[in-house]
Subunit: 151 residues, 5 copies
């Protein structure tokens, strides 16, 4: 792979991009990582495509989503755009989004953001090197502790 791209936002309240890059560099030190920062989640499609044109064949999008219905619909728009990119260009895109209604406490939200960004960075590298079948159905979570399989 030529490079892994990271797309993050100025809207986010945690520097998820740096967390993701740190994790990627630790796991795959020989891979070039490129980063672009955009205003908000709906702009990540443009950012991802820009990095694709610069040679990235895998992208990690780390986004931050407000709590309102408008924000939820923006999240849907982002999700569909990133899926469309994957269908058209055969690039792998994982998105790690934090939603402000996931926690009432700012500190907890920060922990979710860091954990989610890093775990999805690991997922991205794992998918590029093979797949995740050994963890299939294991109730893994990003941002929270794994809930595990139903016994």
């Amino acid at each position: 792979m030529d490079c892994i791209g990271v797309v993050d936002t100025t809207f986010a309240r945690v520097d998820m991009g740096s967390e993701a890059i740190d994790e990627l560099r630790s796991l795959a030190p020989d891979v070039v990582v490129k980063r672009i920062t955009v205003p908000g989640i709906k702009n990540t499609i443009w950012g991802a495509k820009k990095l694709m044109k610069e040679g990235c064949t895998a992208i990690l999008v780390v986004g931050w989503v407000g709590p309102s219905l408008t924000d939820k619909l923006s999240y849907l728009a982002m999700s569909l755009g990133l899926i469309e990119l994957q269908i058209q260009y055969d690039v792998l895109i994982l998105d790690a989004t934090v939603h402000e209604d996931e926690a009432t406490d700012e500190g907890e939200l920060k922990l979710i953001a860091i954990d989610r960004a890093r775990k999805h960075a690991r997922n991205l590298v794992a998918l590029l090197r093979g797949d995740l079948t050994e963890a299939a159905g294991r109730g893994l979570r990003q941002g929270r502790p794994d809930v595990g399989p139903i016994i």
Copy 2:
């Protein structure tokens, strides 16, 4: 057909992929089954396309969906992505998704997951061999007992 693909997730709390594969192998022992596991439902489009590029012309996606509005919108994004793949590439894709708000009891959720994965595996094979017209309008359900036609 060259192969049937199965896409499952690490988010799921039941190993739906293995259930589906077991059923497929039982029904169509001469067919190659390929599997890929991705983190969550929005990633199943990438997984499905990867298996298509490896020769699979039919795909079973077994996903697990959380209970929040965000999860519902992710489900919508996944559904639209899988439909787009079918339109563009003439591949048959069935998705068997379990939604955490379908049951309050974990044990029940597990039974739903197994039943749904296996029944949709049967549907997939049936569609590949012909169609399901003899069961048209019969109120069939996957994950639950059939409700039957309105008399």
Copy 3:
């Protein structure tokens, strides 16, 4: 036109496909009608495209939609997929879907299903032969009695 396709589901609790076919044959006895049955509404896109590849240039989709938000979003996914097919392939697709929350009584639901399937079959034939301008703004309903224009 080479043929009219009918796509129905095993999820439906009324044999809407047979109702639609009966109506189509009565109205256009010289037209070939092809039918395919799929598990649920999200699979009707694949079914419709299959019939299109077999020569059908007009399709009637008769679907059945559950009452939950998940079901509503599946309905949206289906609707968008069928619209995409019409844009890309210039085929006419009408969909007659019954929603379980339309009535509390099973018997009423059955009457809705039959009426809707048959009336949309008539609409399909009317559109293929011309258009419906004489009924424009007349408050026509399928599944229920017409409400009529506002006087």
Copy 4:
């Protein structure tokens, strides 16, 4: 421009198509206006494309939307389909939709429908002849009196 197309429905309870055509003919008497009537809003994409193939480069869609969530999602599907047509074919499409939950009184709904259809007909002609910059940010409304800019 070769022609302006008008797409309306039999579901509507007001003959919005005739209102729109009357307004278009009054404003642009030398332009050919073509009309097609379809059953409901989701079918307007097929109708619009049909008129485009007959040479229309601008389309006015006048639709009527029920009050339920299902109806709202149908409205979304229609909106996305009409946007897709505009992206792919560089045609201008305005849609004037009346939503039954906009008024509790039938008479009021009728006035909304007529006003909206006619005002959007004017908008269509204005856009074809130039643009609407002189009215930018003026709080214009169709179906209701203008609310005006915030002073």
Copy 5:
């Protein structure tokens, strides 16, 4: 870049287009700015594409969204259309939309509109000249004061 396009609406109650243009001219005095005004947010896709065909490679859409569910779904349709344009044509599009339910007071709404239009104009120029990585994760807001990063 050949030009920056600004798309605004007559539905808006604040002349956000003029605010955006003033900001763009101040920041990038040597760039040609083209403007088109359309009736409402769903029409901004057509407007954006028109400006793209006239040579604009970056677009700022300033829209105004009502408070109802119908309005929210129109916002979603707009968002998806603008994303599709960016995927297909590699143009950068930022949208600055004001939602009427963001404030109960008209004066506050006006301040939001002006602030958001101007800040997104700055974002657009910043993205065209480089990126926004120095502000990544800083909790920036448009329309409101920045909330800042979680410490």
